[in-house]
């Protein structure tokens, strides 16, 4: 931010956060304003920095597994999946089919839980109080399944390198099917509350437009990219964990504004249900753990593996020096990269839109700061 800011009487610098309810954590945004109009922003991040990448270098591969849950803590299972896949790639092993199938089910359930939290808080930011209660109610059902499966609700540590450690519990399939049956009408219920709502449309339409080219320029992925009309989803583009076996659509929109991103995420929840239904109907028999040595020592080399997390492309770049600990582990967090586009999205908009736009990028500060 230039020093001359305070000298110019038409410009005002407004500090938003780090303790601000609509920044979804500890994000500080310094806004440069001309009246109600936003001229520019400066994000101050790092309040939640725990040095995850440094910790990784000082833990064994298995010991580091629970740490990844603490990055995007509302989608811990996706984080775990990405990490396990990356280490499996280095080891050149694959999880057994049964494990892959259960992984898909839990990951999709987690995607729904993550999107529900986004929807609830996003609506709350805009001023719609009701949806957050409904969203939390349904999210609770998803968390209960996680709890029944592995004992934890949020930071689940559900997967292990090479497969799963827990067999599915009795009635797992029934719980998933019940959840799917219960959940689909609920999505329509949220849509009924919001999609045609005049205030909702007024606050979201045309706000924070990010075109497809801008998305690529800023490396923005996930629902934000799809809302801009790019039909790209890593589950389809470079399938992992058996996603190629399931039929589902990639929802896209055209204009890339906040309303489109809302529509894309709503449809993604429906598609996740579709995937879960197919997967749960076809869980193969067999082992849940692959042939992985007790002491994990990947050969010297490096690999970059990425998955479609609820927020975008989540990548792990792991360098092995042949020892039991990663020589270097880099996390490519979707939230961090997507947040960079905030400046472009809010420029020229109103102060009130900043809240809507931060909500629509769907960031989790644990992942931004790592």
């Amino acid at each position: 931010m230039p020093d001359a800011t305070f000298l110019d009487s038409t410009e005002l610098v407004l500090n938003m956060g780090p303790q601000h309810p609509s920044t979804h954590g500890v994000l500080r945004v310094i806004l440069k304003l001309d009246g109600e109009k936003v001229l520019g922003t400066d994000c101050v991040i790092g309040y939640l920095h725990r040095g995850v990448e440094k910790i990784a270098e000082n833990r064994t591969y298995a010991q580091f597994n629970p740490y990844v849950d603490r990055m995007d803590y509302v989608a811990a299972i996706s984080n775990g999946l990405g990490y396990c896949l990356a280490v499996e790639k280095l080891l050149n092993v694959e999880a057994p089919e049964r494990a892959q199938c259960v992984r898909v089910i839990l990951t999709e359930l987690n995607r729904i839980a993550s999107h529900l939290l986004w929807l609830g808080t996003h609506a709350l930011d805009i001023g719609a109080i009701t949806p957050v209660f409904y969203c939390m109610r349904e999210r609770e059902e998803a968390l209960k399944i996680f709890e029944k499966y592995c004992g934890a609700r949020l930071t689940t540590h559900a997967f292990r390198i090479g497969g799963l450690i827990y067999e599915t519990y009795d009635g797992f399939e029934k719980d998933i099917n019940n959840f799917c049956d219960m959940f689909l009408p609920k999505v329509d219920e949220y849509a009924e509350l919001l999609t045609g709502n005049r205030i909702w449309i007024g606050r979201l339409k045309g706000v924070g437009v990010l075109t497809a080219d801008e998305c690529k320029e800023y490396g923005v992925t996930g629902p934000v990219l799809r809302a801009a009309g790019v039909k790209w989803d890593l589950r389809k583009a470079q399938p992992y964990s058996g996603y190629q076996k399931y039929e589902f659509d990639i929802p896209t929109c055209e204009t890339g504004d906040t309303y489109d991103r809302y529509l894309v995420r709503m449809e993604e929840m429906r598609q996740s249900v579709r995937i879960m239904r197919q997967a749960v109907a076809s869980i193969p028999e067999g082992p849940i753990m692959g042939k992985v040595p007790k002491v994990i020592k990947p050969p010297i080399g490096e690999a970059y593996v990425s998955i479609e997390a609820p927020k975008g492309e989540l990548g792990y770049y792991v360098v092995s020096d042949g020892s039991t600990q990663p020589y270097r582990l880099r996390v490519r967090p979707p939230s961090f990269v997507n947040l960079q586009a905030l400046d472009r999205m809010v420029a020229g908009g109103l102060v009130a839109d900043v809240v809507a736009i931060i909500g629509t990028i769907d960031i989790v500060l644990g992942e931004v700061d790592r």
């Binding site: 040095g51 440094k54 690529k216 800023y218 970059y304 770049y317 490519r332």
Partner: protein, 168 residues
């Protein structure tokens, strides 16, 4: 299993265009990477973006090898939506070398380079806004360097700003 040479149209095209500046193209575990001279990294990124459609800079990071003369690996990962293909570009740079910033080619590089600067102390020449990003601006030391201990911290900063003896 070791890395094997990567033979493809793109690889030979790049080698023909950049000649000596590319020291090798390899593939490991099905992932392709180019090892290039530090000054060639940004031109390669630009060439890939304009000529081959690699329009998405996925990640930019570094690895510290303190025993090596050229201490750091600088890694660029690019992806092409049109080809559905990922390529890594790897360069080796000595401590103190200032690689050219990739911000002019990919805007994504802005924060990614700031993070590399923050964690490794690699300065990027021509970066528009090279400040620390995750750590406080006055922090001393670069945590992801191998000689930075896991329990190490900037004691002075902690004492001055947090009013406690130690954060450990």
């Amino acid at each position: 299993m070791a890395a094997t040479p990567w033979e493809s149209e793109l690889a030979s095209e790049l080698k023909a265009h950049f000649g000596e500046r590319i020291s090798g193209t390899s593939t490991y575990l099905g992932q392709n990477f180019i090892v290039a001279k530090p000054e060639a990294a940004v031109p390669i990124l630009e060439y890939l973006k304009l000529e081959s459609g690699f329009d998405y800079l996925v990640d930019l990071t570094a690895v510290d090898w303190p025993k090596r003369a050229e201490r750091f690996d600088l890694i660029y990962i690019v992806y092409s939506f049109a080809r559905n293909e990922r390529v890594r570009i790897k360069t080796n740079i000595p401590d103190g070398f200032k690689p050219h910033s990739a911000v002019d080619v990919h805007r994504t590089a802005n924060w990614l380079e700031r993070e590399v600067f923050d964690m490794f102390g690699i300065e990027f020449a021509g970066h528009p806004d090279l400040r620390r990003i995750l750590l406080p601006e006055e922090w001393q030391g670069y945590p992801l360097r191998k000689d930075y201990g896991i329990l190490q911290q900037d004691d002075r900063w902690v004492q001055e700003n947090l009013g406690i003896e130690s954060g450990q």
